[in-house]
């Protein structure tokens, strides 16, 4: 986000949006990591049977 886009009234809204961006980016990164490790784990579990 470019700072010159924010007005004083928009600042709290902007901060909230930054928080939401960070939170959702982390959530999707965790989902991706879950698929990566989940499939390796599934293959390991299958091998142990």
């Amino acid at each position: 986000m470019h700072s010159h886009t924010s007005t004083p009234d928009a600042a709290p809204h902007e901060a909230e949006r930054r928080r939401r961006v960070r939170r959702s980016a982390l959530l999707f990164a965790l989902i991706a990591a879950g698929f990566y490790f989940g499939f390796i784990l599934m293959a390991l579990v299958r091998g142990w049977k």
């Binding site: 886009t5 959702s24 999707f28 991706a32 990566y36 091998g47």
Partner: protein, 534 residues
């Protein structure tokens, strides 16, 4: 246009960096989009060059030019380069350029991550292409990397695995950026059901990417540990299961097909209404159809493996779930046709590519239905019929979709109109030669010619010659594409905000070319409503 400064004034306030720093340190979505598109075009010509070598060898029976190992390297590298280097980066480039402008956002939500996602790719493809020069040659076991065959790859094996990891990381990071941008950066008033179809299809594509690219990464990580660290995930001798790799690969691989085609659905849904001068027929049905196709793509993977052997119930399930995809796809084709019905049609290059997409992608869809029939698939499996099928989906499907998108938005990006006559020539040459190239491959496959072979029985000679002539024609015609773009950038006729009379959408409310930082003030509700005329 009250929300945006005038064209000249906006350029005075661009504050863009100059020289190499503008590109290496780029965080602007338009610059990064341009770099993605240049990379995709470069890879398209490299991958296309490999296709020409393949068709050169197959022009006549017998071994003419290459040894079988190099031929197999060419088929493997052609697929990897075209899928991961040409089509996927082209879609990401188009998303970078268009998504922020179409949702009324000033940029992507995570601009530095955007820079990182792009700059991973040149290293990934340098690594992959440099494997051509190592002892043993480039990977030759097919893009599907099935073990145990792929584990016999020479020194290029770790290069293949590492480059696939890099491509996957780039795609996942890019997809996260796009989802986060669409979910958090839309202008006030840009509700989900006001978003252009291109944004919708990319949102769904990005979810697919986040779910399945890590699965591919997991699969190749296990290949790596099998090769170097003594694990036996896929080695039967150690208690592993090579067929499990196929299941994991195709759990990624089938959604990947939709990753390659869904954004094209979005572009066709933009182009057809514009050149029919009518709103898109059944906007909401189109959104639900794309979402249904994406959901179904997760439960059809084993149709790639019917001949491997599986229980009858599984064969029936995967056959029927695959056929079910024809329903939402049929909804889309019907709605595109209904959009044109009684429209005031004109046939500029984007519309020509969209119409060819509609006809030829449907042919690819129909041959896909044939392949979904289990007993028939036993005959078609690993023949040129399969090659014809997926090339009809990916060339007049994905590639024509990209061409339609570039010819649609190029005037917006550059502020100049390209040579319409030359682009029409590009279309007709491509549309004719793509059929000369791929249609005879249906006949070859039905007659029993196997795929991935450098030599064949003499009865297949005639159609192979026709196919190769089509390939050379198609390949030569593509040189028009960068020339048309170069000519447009250098000296096309300046245009106004709207390049096309019937165009709707926020991007057409901006000047052409758009200012370096667009929508620094969000568009008003009235502007959004005017753009969302579906």
């Amino acid at each position: 246009m009250a929300e945006q400064p005038s064209h000249a004034a906006s350029h005075d306030h661009d504050h863009k960096p100059h020289g190499w720093r503008r590109w290496v340190y780029a965080t602007n979505h338009k610059d990064i989009g341009t770099m993605y598109l240049i990379l995709a075009c470069t890879m398209f010509f490299i991958g296309g060059g490999m296709a020409m070598l393949i068709r050169l060898e197959l022009f006549k029976p017998g071994l003419q030019f290459f040894d079988p190992q190099f031929f197999n390297s060419m088929t493997t590298m052609h697929a990897l380069i075209m899928i991961f280097g040409a089509v996927m980066p082209a879609w990401t480039g188009l998303a970078n350029w268009m998504v922020p402008m179409q949702v009324g956002a000033p940029d992507m939500a995570l601009p530095r991550l955007n820079n990182f996602s792009f700059w991973i790719l040149p290293f990934a493809f340098t690594l992959l292409l440099s494997s051509l020069f190592v002892p043993g040659g480039a990977p030759a076991g097919g893009w599907t990397m099935y073990p145990p065959l792929v584990l016999q790859t020479g020194a290029s094996f770790p290069m293949l695995v590492f480059s696939v990891h890099l491509m996957g990381a780039s795609s996942i990071l890019g997809a996260i950026n796009i989802v986060v941008t669409i979910m958090n950066m839309r202008a006030p008033g840009m509700t989900l059901l006001r978003m252009p179809l291109f944004v919708w299809t990319w949102l769904i594509t990005a979810y697919l990417l986040i779910a399945v690219m890590p699965v591919l990464a997991g699969a190749v990580t296990m290949l790596l540990t099998d090769h170097f660290f003594g694990t036996t995930f896929f080695t039967a001798a150690g208690g592993g299961d090579p067929v499990m790799f196929q299941h994991i690969f195709w759990f990624f691989g089938h959604p990947e097909v939709y990753i390659l085609i869904l954004p094209a659905f979005g572009i066709i849904s933009e182009v057809i209404p514009t050149f029919s001068r009518k709103p898109l027929f059944g906007y909401e049905a189109m959104v639900y159809a794309v979402a249904s196709i994406a959901f179904l793509s997760f439960i059809v993977w084993a149709h790639h493996m019917f001949t491997v052997g599986m229980p009858l119930a599984a064969q029936l399930f995967f056959m029927l779930s695959t056929m079910l995809i024809a329903v939402p796809t049929g909804v889309k084709v019907f709605n595109w046709t209904a959009t044109m019905w009684k429209g005031s049609l004109s046939f500029e290059p984007p519309m020509l590519f969209a119409l060819a997409f509609l006809f030829l992608f449907s042919i690819g869809g129909f041959s896909g239905l044939m392949l979904a029939i289990v007993p028939a698939d036993y005959q078609y499996q690993d023949t040129y019929f399969v090659v014809a099928h997926f090339h009809y989906v990916l060339v007049p499907g994905s590639i024509f979709g990209i061409m339609a998108g570039v010819y649609y938005w190029l005037p917006k990006w550059t502020g100049r109109m390209y040579d319409l006559k030359l682009a029409t020539w590009h279309f007709w040459l491509s549309a004719i030669f793509v059929n000369v190239l791929f249609f005879p491959q249906h006949f070859l496959g039905l007659a029993g010619m196997p795929r991935r072979i450098p030599d064949y029985a003499v009865q297949f000679t005639d159609w192979n010659m026709v196919s190769s002539i089509g390939a050379f024609g198609f390949g030569l015609a593509q040189f028009l594409f960068p020339y048309i773009i170069w000519k447009c950038v250098r000296g096309g006729q300046p245009i106004g905000n709207k390049a096309w009379e019937g165009a709707h959408g926020l991007e057409w409310e901006l000047p052409s070319p758009p200012p370096y930082h667009s929508w620094t003030t969000p568009p008003s509700d009235a502007v959004i409503a005017r753009g969302a005329a579906h």
